[in-house]
């Protein structure tokens, strides 16, 4: 026995070590059911107390306020707070019998089908990960959750209670098959479709929506945004049994059902949501109410991620859903260079090559034999979608940029038209406002300041910059130069644009220093407001323009200090409590579409007068080069889209694929296809 002891010992140690080895980290089991219940109670109490406190304070202030506008605003807020308290606590659970009578249930099955009846299900759609970086997480919230890839497994896939029809913009049923908007235009009652199921087979119940609010309001998310947003913009959620629920907004809004929309978080899946949420759930595939789920074996970190169609998807035969989400599998490969993506596309290993901004690919690189011979087809689609506001954003935390004349002069020194003419092949037009492409809500009367060294010189002179140094850069008497660093995410396309801007700015006596960074590094820098000028854009979504989080003074500085507040969207570090804040609040709290339009117009004017940023370009089309086996509906795509794949109306025709591959081998050609779809074109002047 003793002889074998050392070997035995080694074997035991090895065994223990190997047993301890797991393919991933193991987390201790966690059940938040009790914690949740306690949270609901606690949150109900604190939110009610806060509301009461605010109400008392407002009532107090009302007695001393003299300004008419202030009084009116306070009275409005008092009324809203009183309603909030009258509605009851945030989280309420009632029986189905407690549903109010006389609810006007409504639904919308009158809009046209989405997609084409010719769509065939099946096939593997080969794509690449947009942003050319592997997503840092599969979570939809929490640190890193708001990444480039999230739209492709969350925003475009998951269903909420209702949705927006991508051609008409009307509210359409999704998880809720009918809804009722209460008279107060703040509360919306939803009935969960009896057929609604998660991809793991479980029914969608109202507790899943409770869980969603729990996650958003919990302290376990890194971002403050959700806690504030759901805390302030919602009065609460009430469930009536397992099929009916009501979501209460804090302000009456037009398109109420759309604003009250919520995506459920499966209570069973999120049972382990706790303090270690961001690590535990980092790569856990969720059960989904949408058409695609992610299987654990399809997450190949650093290489690819694949979505698989939910075969028995509950909505697969419903109107609005039956002709979309057609491929069986969608494979997103990580390819780090755009040129490599294009080469793989030419080889047929990528199915669709969207050309959104880099026009060189459209006008030159896709003039290739595969296109002439009809194997690859080209399509230009005029859409009606908010135009991503590319431009130079000025950070007023920098003392020089805090001067209005300097900003006006910089606008005159930035030659976007040359960028449009040269680098975009003349294919875009100049953007004038922040939120363009919102139909009637976009102020089409504002024309931004043109490139003019003369006007720039005048504005610089007003700001005290009257001398030019040896390199021709404006300097003031203290020796300060007009020299700013533009921070941006490095990519060949943007490199070229900012270099063009730099070259042209020198003619106006402005020096731009270019700081191209890795995507994450740039995001961190801008989020912490450490930039001087950021070249950036935002993903803005219909139906209404958003201004509050970009300009409100609350988002500018850390409370009570002059240090810029990090992790907010106010990258201008702009604060104007006197004029802009009330406009922003009116815009956010508007109850009618006219109000939204009025306030949006006024805000855009203020942005223009204060020269807060230099608007770049806008495109009213997007283009797609795709292999001919990718088929599209007759009008190509839906109006409210900004890239070819986001509406999932396309399908793969396996017979065409075989035919095409054979034709390529036998040198058989097809007629060249280069179509323009301008059915949804927005005429200039802004009218839809």
């Amino acid at each position: 026995m003793m002889r074998f002891f050392p070997r035995l010992l080694c074997a035991c140690v090895a065994g223990l070590l190997l047993l301890g080895c797991d393919s991933g980290e193991t987390f201790p089991t966690y059940d938040n059911t009790e914690e949740r219940a306690a949270f609901y109670e606690r949150y109900n109490k604190t939110s009610t107390d806060d509301a009461r406190k605010n109400l008392d304070k407002l009532n107090n202030d009302l007695t001393t306020a003299t300004d008419e506008m202030q009084r009116a605003d306070m009275q409005r807020r008092i009324k809203l707070l009183e309603k909030r308290l009258a509605d009851g606590p945030y989280f309420q659970q009632k029986e189905e019998s407690a549903l109010p009578a006389n609810l006007q249930w409504t639904t919308n099955l009158d809009d046209a089908e989405i997609g084409s009846p010719n769509a065939k299900k099946g096939g593997t759609y080969k794509a690449f990960i947009p942003g050319m970086a592997y997503p840092p997480t599969l979570r939809c919230v929490g640190k890193g959750g708001n990444n480039n890839f999230r739209s492709y497994h969350w925003n475009n896939i998951e269903l909420g209670l209702v949705g927006a029809h991508p051609n008409t913009g009307n509210t359409i049923p999704s998880i809720a098959d009918r809804w009722a908007v209460a008279e107060d235009m703040q509360t919306v009652y939803f009935h969960i479709d009896d057929r609604a199921k998660w991809s793991d087979g479980d029914e969608v119940v109202t507790d899943d929506f409770f869980m969603a609010f729990y996650v958003y309001l919990s302290p376990y998310l890194t971002e403050q945004f959700y806690r504030t947003y759901y805390g302030e913009q919602f009065n609460g959620i009430t469930t009536y049994g397992k099929d009916y629920l009501a979501i209460r907004l804090a302000n009456p809004k037009p398109k109420t059902a759309f604003f009250a929309n919520q995506v459920p978080f499966q209570a069973k899946f999120y049972k382990a949501f706790g303090p270690d949420f961001e690590e535990r759930y980092n790569w856990l595939p969720r059960p989904t109410t949408g058409a695609y789920k992610i299987l654990p074996e399809d997450i190949k970190k650093g290489r690819s991620i694949t979505l698989s169609r939910v075969k028995d998807w509950w909505a697969k035969d419903l109107k609005y859903f039956r002709y979309i989400y057609n491929p069986d599998r969608i494979e997103y490969k990580l390819i780090r260079e755009r040129e490599k993506i294009f080469v793989l596309f030419k080889r047929g290993e990528i199915d669709v090559f969207p050309v959104i901004n880099d026009m060189k690919y459209w006008y030159e690189k896709t003039e290739i034999p595969e296109v002439f011979n009809g194997y690859i087809e080209k399509a230009t689609f005029y859409n009606d979608y908010p135009r991503a506001p590319f431009g130079l954003y000025y950070n007023q935390a920098n003392p020089q940029l805090a001067n209005l004349d300097v900003r006006i002069a910089l606008q005159h020194a930035t030659h976007w038209d040359r960028v449009i003419k040269f680098d975009m092949r003349g294919d875009s037009s100049r953007l004038n406002i922040l939120n363009d492409g919102f139909g009637r809500f976009s102020n089409s009367k504002i024309i931004t300041r043109p490139f003019s060294p003369k006007l720039a010189a005048e504005a610089f002179a007003r700001a005290g910059y009257t001398k030019k140094d040896s390199k021709g850069i404006w300097t003031n008497d203290e020796g300060q130069k007009i020299s700013f660093t533009i921070s941006y995410t490095k990519s060949p396309f943007i490199d070229q644009i900012v270099q063009r801007l730099k070259e042209e700015a020198l003619k106006a006596g402005v020096e731009y220093k270019l700081e191209g960074q890795d995507g994450t590094a740039n995001y961190q820098m801008v989020a912490q407001k450490k930039h001087q000028i950021a070249f950036s854009a935002w993903g803005i979504t219909p139906p209404f323009p958003d201004y509050y989080e970009f300009f409100h003074s609350k988002e500018a500085y850390e409370p009570g200090t002059k240090t810029p507040r990090s992790m907010t969207n106010n990258i201008f570090t702009y604060a104007d409590p006197a004029v802009m804040d009330p406009l922003l609040e009116a815009n956010r709290n508007a109850t009618t579409e006219d109000e939204i339009q009025q306030t949006s117009y006024a805000i855009e004017e203020k942005i223009h007068n204060e020269a807060l940023w230099s608007p770049g370009w806008k495109k009213d089309t997007y283009r797609s080069a795709h292999w001919r086996w990718i088929q599209w509906p007759d009008d190509f795509n839906v109006k409210i889209s900004d890239e070819p794949e986001m509406s999932y109306v396309f399908w793969i025709d396996e017979d065409l694929k075989k035919e095409t591959l054979e034709a390529m081998r036998e040198q058989k050609t097809f007629p060249e296809v280069n179509r323009v779809y301008d059915k949804y074109r927005v005429k200039t002047g802004g009218e839809p």
Binding site: S452, L514, V676
Partner: protein
């Protein structure tokens, strides 16, 4: 006049030119480099007074170092006589035709970089305007356009001034450098090539190939306004044609097939055939454009529209400067450390070797990236990159010197010198250093190759010099992303290979020249 004294006089002349240029605010080619150093923004914000005088201070410092060299060379050059060994090696070198000719070519290339803005630049060499003579390339002052009768708000654009003078023909003229483009941030206007129609088929002017691609027709009354955008295949209209109105909005679509109209989609009727007859069609050439003598883009442009020849020239200047600084720094540090650790041994050697061990384990690329991100991309300069490269390269040299010092230290003549009463400095500088130094010459060419390749590689992956420096690496990256414009990658590749080949031949020749045996066999 002995050789060192000749060198010292040459250096004195350079110093004099530099000082004269600075005092009179002249931009003399190449010597203006001494006074071209500025502090970074952050530092000059902290110490504005210091920042103002920094330029003169640093330039003065460099010139003083040179002056010290001048004085030393003059004094020690009094009774200078060539070492017969050296003469023999030089003779041997000259007899190696390939190496010697490469050396001369290399000298020629370096000499080519000296004219600086006289050869390549955006500023005119001579301007005669209304009986006044200007020399914009040679003065620090930037002229406004109105000095030459143009717009008071714009800086002078000498290329357009030259065209204007030619049109006006009033006796004013402009002499531009041979390559009238700046090395960075200088884009040409878009080229519009007219398409000529022969037998109903469109050809590019001066070409026998039918035109394939996109073409635009402009309003004859308003040449900036486009009226038609067509696609041509085999010189005939094919596919989509878009028609624009006065505001630039598309108002009609036509579909053509092999030169015949197939379909028209318009709000009001348009007679397409007649409309097309009266129009001239142009092809817009976007960058990268191919080499063109008429437009003075002798090697074409890159995808940004910057002239390729100018960038290659600028890149050559950068490589020369960088190599010179690198060799000086690396060899200086390497020799000092190597000799000391070799000669003194003991504690000095121990510490030096440990430092070398630590340094050789540090990842070079990461250090470069960290430094670049801390300083900010734009604040990185040649000195920064060279400094980082040096920190990792002196190790190789010092190892050679250390072994050489060990070897020499044990030789009899050192012992003899010591017996005669020579102190350590004398032994080091008078006896060991000259013997050890001669082998360093053979390492110089390969160091130059190394630094040229490293610099290009760093720029290629995007972590090297900022874009205000012309760089072969960024050109290479651009060329590889645009292989359908082969002139970019071909020219960069050609000059890079040529330079490295020349240096390698020179290096081989030097090695052979310094070989103590007449014929060496490698085993």
């Amino acid at each position: 006049m002995t050789f060192p004294r000749k060198i010292s006089l040459a250096l004195l002349a350079i110093i004099a030119l530099a000082i004269v240029g600075r005092i009179w605010s002249l931009e003399l080619p190449s010597v203006r480099w001494f006074f071209s150093f500025e502090l970074t923004e952050t530092i000059s914000a902290k110490w504005p007074e210091f920042a103002k005088i920094y330029r003169n201070l640093f330039g003065g410092f460099l010139l003083s170092v040179m002056f010290v060299a001048v004085v030393i060379l003059w004094i020690t050059g009094k009774n200078f006589e060539w070492n017969p060994m050296t003469l023999r090696r030089v003779k041997r070198f000259r007899s190696l035709k390939r190496g010697y000719r490469s050396f001369l070519l290399l000298l020629g290339l370096v000499a080519l970089t000296l004219p600086d803005q006289c050869l390549v630049g955006r500023k005119a060499l001579i301007v005669k305007y209304e009986d006044q003579w200007f020399f914009p390339a040679f003065v620090s002052k930037n002229y406004q356009d109105d000095t030459f009768g143009g717009d008071p708000d714009l800086g002078a654009n000498y290329r357009s001034i030259r065209d204007r003078f030619r049109l006006e023909n009033e006796g004013n003229f402009v002499v531009m450098p041979l390559v009238p483009w700046d090395m960075t941030f200088d884009t040409d206007e878009l080229e519009k090539v007219e398409l000529v129609k022969r037998d109903g088929v469109f050809y590019e002017t001066g070409s026998n190939k039918t035109y394939e691609g996109l073409s635009t027709a402009y309003d004859p009354a308003a040449p900036d306004r486009k009226v038609r955008e067509v696609t041509l295949r085999d010189g005939k209209f094919q596919g989509l044609t878009t028609i624009y109105n006065a505001e630039g909005d598309p108002i009609a679509k036509e579909t053509w097939n092999a030169g015949s109209l197939v379909e028209l989609e318009a709000d009001s009727p348009i007679d397409s055939v007649i409309a097309v007859k009266g129009l001239t069609f142009f092809a817009l050439k976007y960058p990268p454009t191919s080499p063109s003598w008429e437009r003075h883009h002798f090697l074409g442009t890159d995808s940004r529209g910057w002239d390729l020849f100018a960038q290659l020239y600028g890149g050559l200047q950068v490589v020369c400067k960088a190599s010179f600084l690198y060799v000086v720094l690396t060899f200086f540090i390497g020799i000092v450390v190597g000799l000391s650790s070799g000669y003194f041994g003991g504690l000095v050697d121990l510490i030096a070797q440990r430092v070398i061990e630590i340094l050789s384990n540090m990842p070079f690329l990461f250090i470069v990236m960290i430094i670049a991100s801390r300083l900010g991309r734009e604040n990185v300069s040649i000195m920064t990159i060279i400094a980082v490269l040096c920190i990792f390269s002196w190790i190789g040299i010092s190892t050679y010197k250390r072994t050489a010092a060990f070897k020499e230290k044990a030789r009899d003549y050192v012992a003899a010198a010591r017996v005669l009463g020579a102190g350590t400095p004398r032994i080091l500088f008078r006896h060991i250093l000259p013997n050890v130094l001669s082998t360093s010459i053979t390492l110089v060419p390969f160091s130059v190759t190394a630094v040229a390749t490293s610099l290009t590689a760093l720029d290629f992956i995007g972590f090297g010099l900022p874009d205000r420096y012309p760089s072969w690496g960024t050109l290479l990256a651009d060329g590889l992303a645009n292989l359908e414009s082969p002139w970019i990658v071909t020219s960069v590749f050609a000059i890079l290979v040529t330079l490295l080949l020349l240096i390698t031949f020179v290096g081989e020749a030097i090695r052979e020249a310094f070989d103590p045996k007449k014929f060496t066999t490698y085993q």
